[in-house]
């Protein structure tokens, strides 16, 4: 792809970009966070947490305004008071999916932008999204993939990043989850392994001073398990949903008891419903205290 290069090594694509909000964004490293539109609760928590910590370190978070990982990434950046940019596959005047209109407004209100290579009024078309993914890779310094099953659009973004000689990094997941197939393949092929935001910041060559200040906390993984005493918790996964029946069978407990204990945990925010079953709810490390 022909393009012009600005000082930061970020390539601007040929067609002029349309934008809503503040574009270009304030200077600073740019990280794209992409992944499945239907992530596990684990993936969603990781995307939100990473985006938040990166935004705190002054990174501009790019993503695609889709459901799932994209939304979580935008939201995480906004939660940190950071700037985030949505690279859209539609015209900038058409928010797709419509469920994210509120998020789109928040992005603009927080000093970020919606941008698109497509003219105003362009409706969502299947073949527009790979082109959009390429644009996103072109505009970013690092592409981070959080949960991508085989054939996921996030992998197209990663491939584009490799073509453009951008750094690609991926977050590992459970080997039992189909959502890890894509990310693990990337890691096997040489993508950087992400265990916390510092891994990304290191890849961006951000100096220690920057790194130390906003990110004092992440000594461990940046996540904490919920502090509930119920033994059921240790039998639940963060990624794969277990049904109450499966829990009951594992623990040899009567189903009514398991159902009521799981609901009690849900009420306390320690477990979540996911795909017809239950998963452990991850809490951000920062909320531990």
């Amino acid at each position: 792809m022909a393009g012009t290069t600005n000082g930061g090594g970020v390539t601007e694509p040929d067609p002029p970009l349309r934008s809503r909000g503040r574009w270009p964004p304030p200077g600073g490293p740019r990280v794209a966070i992409v992944g499945s539109r239907r992530p596990s609760p684990y993936g969603e928590a990781v995307a939100e947490q990473l985006a938040m910590e990166l935004a705190l370190a002054g990174v501009v978070v790019f993503s695609g305004l889709a459901l799932g990982i994209d939304s979580a990434a935008h939201r995480g950046a906004l939660n940190a008071g950071g700037v985030t940019v949505a690279v859209m596959g539609t015209g900038v005047d058409i928010v797709y999916p419509a469920a994210n209109s509120r998020l789109a407004d928040d992005i603009i209100a927080a000093g970020g932008a919606l941008i698109s290579q497509f003219p105003d009024g362009t409706m969502p078309r299947r073949h527009h999204f790979p082109a959009r993914n390429y644009t996103m890779a072109a505009l970013s310094d690092v592409v981070v993939v959080v949960e991508a099953s085989e054939g996921s659009g996030a992998l197209i973004t990663a491939e584009a990043a490799l073509d453009l000689h951008k750094e690609v990094m991926a977050v590992p997941g459970s080997i039992f989850s189909p959502l890890s197939v894509g990310t693990h393949a990337l890691i096997r092929d040489g993508a950087g392994l992400i265990q916390n935001a510092r891994d990304v910041l290191a890849a961006l060559d951000i100096t220690r001073e920057v790194l130390d200040d906003p990110l004092r906390a992440p000594d461990g993984l940046g996540f904490a398990l919920p502090r509930e005493r119920d033994g059921i918790l240790s039998h639940l996964s963060d990624v794969l949903a277990l049904s109450a029946a499966e829990v009951a069978r594992k623990l040899q407990l009567p189903i009514p008891e398991v159902l009521s204990r799981l609901t009690a945990l849900e009420l306390n925010g320690a477990v979540r419903r996911h795909e017809g079953g239950y998963v452990r709810a991850l809490r951000r490390g920062k909320q531990r205290a």
Partner: protein
Amino acid sequence: MLGSVDSCLLVGLETRRVEVQAHIGRGGDAGFFLVGLAATSVKEARERVRSAIKNSGLEYPRTRLAVNLAPAELRKEGSGLDLPIAVAIALARYGKLPPARSAFIGELSLDGGVRHVDGVLVAVRGLRDLGYERVFVPAEDAAEAALVDGVEVIPCISLIRVVAHLIGEVPIAAASPTRPQTLLEPGSFEHDLAEVHGQEEGKRALEVAAAGGHHLLFSGPPGSGKTMLARCLPGILPPLELDEALEVAQVRSVLGELERERPLDWTRPFRAPHHGVSMAGLIGGGSGLAQPGEISRAHHGVLFLDELAEFQTPVLQALRQPLETGRVRITRSAGSVVYPARFTLVAATNPCPCGWAGDGVRTCRCTPAAVNTYQRRLSGPLLDRIDLQVAVRRLKLETLAGEPHGEASASVRERVVAARGRQMDRQGGLNAQLRPARLRQVAGLAPASRHTLERWAEQRGLTARGFHRAWRVARTVADLEGSDQIQDHHVLEALGFRLSEAAA
């Protein structure tokens, strides 16, 4: 010469008295005039009656013959008036009065035999309530008619035998009352919970649904056993009571689907209409007077709707009234009828259009938007009336290969019967039918459980309807445990019976 006998017509499950008058003129041209708003099927009676009288060896009047069906404003349909018309003519001929407080129902064949008509059970019950003491019915339908107590049933084989009886020549013995068979032996159901692998959540939901009369929704991928679970529900419900069994039999009688040998069946009906079913098929309908639909065939039993999202929306919408009131009113050209329709709804659905969302092995290929649209089709007024929602997941193969070791339906049924008994003693009805005001009266919450329910409602933005739904289910869970108070864990379990993170 005038002859007159009584008969009846069915309007839905209601019995309307009809008086059949025959007048044989002294002269005039021979002719058979039938008056009194007779539909085509009744006008055809002339041909059958004429042949039947002649072939029975009775004298057919050579003068003008007029038959009047009163009241004139009631539209007459069906072949059940054949016998009373022929009897009225014969009585006019012999100048006899009919026996007091007697009524006649039956179709005639050309040779003078008396043939089966639909709805005899309903007709005889109705006639008894109208004050009749003796009913002449086709011999084939005598067992059905003799289920009704307090009325003498005279089985009719042929017109000539009936006439011989009426003029006092050869009396016909009354049919002996049909004794309801003894209760079904436990374990004689086709589907037993003991044969279902795993799915403890689904089984528990069935138990709660059976105990409180709650409607139920299963969501899960193809082959996860939703249908199997649903078919187990009749087996854990208590057998029908006598008057319930009679109501079930009445619907079948109107449809002509009653088994001759065994008119009363104690098993709860299980109906599973295909998702292509029409409005008339599900709710009831047809030309003229409406016939009962699947929901009335499922009366006092289970209506299973598989692939709920595939049903036409207007068809599902039409379920709202019966779900609310336990009966359905259908209006057609010939009038408006009411049929009973108090059933337990068991619905099943895939979680998404391809069916594999949330499956452990196969991946779902649907876009999030498609899943959204699909699930939205299910939401709304119908789902609002379903108290219990359960996700059913496919089992791992190793679980399927082992012997199932679940509890048998018979022992679950014992708990269900006990829980229903508690509800009947306390409030005279099932928990699912408790309206909010009654719920507050009879289903007090312990402080801790009230706190839990309110905390949940606040956290999830529960609607008032959802709040009461969880409350009712909690009452049933407490009843299953034999507890007077709704405890915290009852509420928590009740809140677990929903599909998603959403408030429900």
